[in-house]
Amino acid sequence: MSVAPLLEVDRVTMRFGGLVANEDVSFAVQPGQVFAVIGPNGAGKTTMFNAITGVYQPSSGEVRFQGKVVRKSFAARLLLRVGGTAIAAAISCMLAVNAVALWKAVIVANYVYGEPFLWGKAIGCIGPALSQVGALWTWGSASVGALLGGGGAFVLWLRTRRTPDVVAAAGIARTFQNIRLFGELSVLENVLVGMHGRLRTSYFTNLLRLPAYWREHADSDARAMELLRFVGLDARAHDAARNLPYGLQRRLEIARALASRPRLLLLDEPAAGMNPTETVALMELIRRIRDTGVTVLLIEHHMRVVMGVSDRICVLNFGKRIAEGTPEQIRNDPACIEAYLGKEELG
C-alpha cells in the first residue's frame, strides 16, 4: 500500500505486574478505513485502546499517529514555562524567607504616620535590605525556590507528556465500553464539552462575556446541534444525559467524540446491549462517519456489525494478535474460527 498509515501500533506490550495484557501487538490502520479489533473477552482489546489513547503508557513498543508518537514536544514554551516558574518561585521564596526583615526595612522605616509615602525611596531600600541579611541567605533561598519551582514544573511536564488530553488534542477521539457520559449535563452540553479543544475563548473572555464569547457561543451551539442531528438526537438536546435510554446514550457518546473533529475515532463496543434495529442503525451511522472522512477503529463482539462494516479486521486472543485481514479472510482463517468465531457461531 502506498498510503501512509494513519495509526501504527508497533509491537506494543502492556504489562501489569506479572499480568501481560498485550504482547507484541502490531497493526496499522489506513486512513478512511473502518478497522475492527475483535477477540474473546479478556483478550486485551480495551487495554489496547487505553494504550492508544494515553490512559496507559505501553510497557514497550510504540503507538504512532500520522507517523509520530503523540506527545508534547520539547519546545520554546516548555523552556518558558519552566524558566518562568523557576524565577517566580525564586522571587517568592526569597521574599517569604526575608518577609519580616524586608517589611521593616522597606515599609516601616519609610512610613511616618500621616505623611505621604515615598514609593521610589522605599523601593530603593530593597537592595540594601537584602544585602544586609547576607548574600548566602538571599541567594540560597532564591536558588532553593528556583530548584523547587523549575524542577516541579519540569516533572509535571514530563508526567503529562502523553496523557489522554494530549492524545485527544492530536485528533484521536474515543467512546467507552461502559458508557461514561457527563450525566448531570444536558445532551447539548455533553457535545459542547467534546468541543472543548476546538473552542478558544479564555477564562476572562468567559467571565466578562466579551464579544468573542458571544461569537463562539452561537457558532459552537449551532455546530453541536448539527452533530446531534447527525446522530439523530436533536430532539432531546436539552434533556439530562443520564435520562436518555441506553441506545441513545451510546449515540451521544459518538456525537461527543466527533465534536472534537477527530481524524481517528475509537469505538469501544458501540453495539453492546443494543437490539437488532438499533444495531442496524448503528452500522449505518458508522458508515456515514467513515464517509465524512473520519477513520474508525472499532472493538466489537457483534459479528454482524464487524463483518458488515469493517474493511479490515485484527483478531486478538490472550493478548496476542492471531490474525489480520479482510472480513473474508478472517471468516476462513482456521485460527480465528477456533479461537472465536467457531464458539460464537455455535453458541
Partner: protein
C-alpha cells in the same frame, strides 16, 4: 431574579418598618460570597475543600493592609477589594499548584491543613499582621453612591448586595461557558473529560483560584464591616465547615441554592435564634443566666439538626442544581 427582587424590597422597607433585618443580612451576604467561592470548587469541580476560612483570612488581611492608615498603601474600597481578590487568587494558585494532582480525600486533608497553617502564619508574622491583635481600625469606605457609612447598616447592606450581585453574575457567566463546562465535566468523570481534550490540572487550578478569590472578597467585606480583621483565630475550621454547610444545604453546584443556603444557615443563626431567645426570655421560660438563654449556645445544635434532616429529606439541597439547570434550558 426573585431573590434579588426580594433583597431590594427588603432593603427599601426595612428602614420605615423598623424590621431590623438589614443589620444581620450583612453577615448573610458575606457568607453568601464565601459559599459562592466554595460552590465553584466543591459544587462545580467536585473537589472537597475544607480550608476556605484560610482564603477568607488572607482576604481580610490583604484588605486591611491595603486600607488601614498604619500602613502606607491606604487604597480606596474598590481598589483594595481588587487587591484582595488578586491576593486570594494567588494564594489559591500557590496551594493548588503542588496539590491538585491529588485525588478526593487526600486533597481534602491538604486543604484542611492549609486552613490551620494560614491561621498560624498570620498569628506569628506579627511584624506585618500585628499577631493576635488583628489590624484595626480600618477606615469606613467612602462611597457617596451608597450613602454615609456610619452607624446605619443600610449603606453596608446596599454595598454588599451590589458585590453579591456582581459575584453571582460572574459565577453564572463562568458556569455557562467553556470554562465552567470543563469544571462540570471534570466533576462528572475526570477520565472521560481528559479523553475529550480537557487537561484536568489546569482546569482545577482555575476553579481553585476563582473560589479563593471569592472567599478573599468575603474576607475583605468582613474586615471592612467590623473595621478590623479580628484575630487570626477567628478564621478557623468552623468557618470552613459553615461554608460547606451552606453549599450542601443550598444545593451543590447551584448558585441560587448557595444564596438560599446562606440565608438558611446564617439567617437562622443571626436572625431567628436571637429573636427566639429574647422571646423565650420575655415569656419567662428561660432567664438570661440559663444555658439556653443565649442563642449561641444552641446554634450548633440547630445546625447539626438541620444537616441531618436535610440529608434525610432533600439530599440534593434546598434548590438542587439539576432543577436549576432544567429551568435555564440546560444550556445557554
Amino acid at each position: 431574579m426573585l431573590l434579588l427582587a426580594a433583597a431590594v424590597v427588603l432593603g427599601i422597607i426595612d428602614g420605615p418598618l423598623k424590621l431590623g433585618l438589614v443589620d444581620p443580612m450583612r453577615g448573610v451576604l458575606i457568607f453568601a460570597l464565601l459559599g459562592l467561592g466554595l460552590n465553584i470548587v466543591t459544587g462545580f469541580t467536585g473537589l472537597l475543600h475544607l480550608g476556605m476560612a484560610a482564603f477568607m483570612a488572607i482576604g481580610a488581611y490583604a484588605f486591611a493592609i491595603s486600607t488601614c492608615d498604619i500602613y502606607p498603601f491606604q487604597l480606596g474600597f474598590w481598589p483594595a477589594l481588587g487587591v484582595t481578590a488578586v491576593a486570594g487568587a494567588l494564594a489559591g494558585f500557590l496551594l493548588g499548584a503542588p496539590t491538585l494532582g491529588l485525588r478526593g480525600d487526600y486533597l481534602a486533608i491538604v486543604t484542611l491543613g492549609f486552613g490551620e497553617i494560614a491561621q498560624d502564619v498570620l498569628k506569628n508574622l506579627d511584624a506585618i499582621t500585628k499577631g493576635t491583635q488583628g489590624i484595626n481600625p480600618l477606615p469606613p469606605p467612602s462611597l457617596p453612591l451608597f450613602g454615609e457609612f456610619g452607624s446605619s447598616p443600610a449603606p453596608w447592606y446596599w454595598l454588599f448586595l451590589a458585590i453579591t450581585v456582581l459575584a453571582v453574575f460572574a459565577c453564572r457567566n463562568l458556569e455557562r461557558s467553556r470554562t465552567g463546562r470543563a469544571w462540570l465535566a471534570v466533576r462528572e468523570d475526570e477520565l472521560a473529560a481528559s479523553c475529550m481534550g480537557i487537561a484536568p490540572i489546569p482546569v482545577k487550578m482555575y476553579a481553585f483560584a476563582t473560589g479563593a478569590a471569592l472567599a478573599a472578597i468575603a474576607g475583605g467585606m468582613w474586615a471592612s464591616l467590623y473595621a478590623s480583621t479580628g484575630e487570626p483565630g477567628n478564621y478557623d475550621f468552623q468557618i470552613s465547615i459553615l461554608a460547606l454547610c451552606i453549599v450542601i444545604v443550598g444545593g451543590m453546584g447551584s448558585i441560587n441554592g448557595v444564596l438560599v443556603g446562606a440565608l438558611a444557615m446564617i439567617g437562622v443563626a443571626n436572625i431567628a435564634l436571637p429573636k427566639l431567645a429574647s422571646w423565650l426570655q420575655q415569656k419567662g421560660v428561660v432567664n438570661a443566666s440559663n444555658v439556653l438563654g443565649s442563642p449561641n449556645n444552641w446554634k450548633y445544635l440547630v445546625f447539626g439538626l438541620v444537616l441531618v434532616v436535610m440529608m434525610r429529606v432533600r439530599p440534593d439541597g434546598l434548590l438542587p442544581a439539576r432543577l436549576e439547570r432544567r429551568k435555564a434550558g440546560g444550556s445557554a
